[in-house]
Symmetry: C2
Subunit: 93 residues, 2 copies
């Protein structure tokens, strides 16, 4: 899976991401799209997937896999911190 079919969720307007997912399937003809997020944006990633699949692509796509993980790294103050991640894969039915 290349990054081409991934949508990274951040702080842009919510509908930008929903439109991004929908267009991957419609305009770009993708068979699978992975919605990815870290930290506080995880809740938003779930919202994006739910709205895209239940309002815009009803009956056309399904969730094919959900993975959660976490990454540890040193922050600017040199403290070890952990950030959670999520990958939600949607595929064409």
């Amino acid at each position: 899976m290349s990054d081409e079919n991934s949508i990274f969720i951040g702080g842009k307007p919510f509908m930008n991401y929903v439109t991004g997912v929908v267009m991957q399937f419609t305009t770009k003809g993708a068979d699978e799209v992975v919605v990815k997020a870290r930290g506080k944006f995880i809740s938003r990633a779930v919202d994006v997937v739910e709205v895209a699949s239940k309002r815009f692509l009803v009956g056309q796509v399904e969730i094919s896999g959900i993975q959660i993980d976490s990454e540890e790294f040193k922050n600017q103050e040199g403290r070890q911190v952990r950030v959670s991640t999520i990958d939600i894969a949607l595929k064409k039915k």
Copy 2:
């Protein structure tokens, strides 16, 4: 699966939930625990699962399933709103 083995994530101190998950497996001898959250608490639910499974229960539990969904309801102003939900099941290895 009864609610007895479910942990609902909300606004209490983070470690309360982590301890709750860990104790379900250790003190209470549960084979499976489901961490549940709605809306903005979804990110927190993932954090709780990651910390519980990777820091406190290393090698003892694994994620056995993740489900996302959403519920529609009328809010106080009578508007139809959607809230996302997540269920993350952890099971004893």
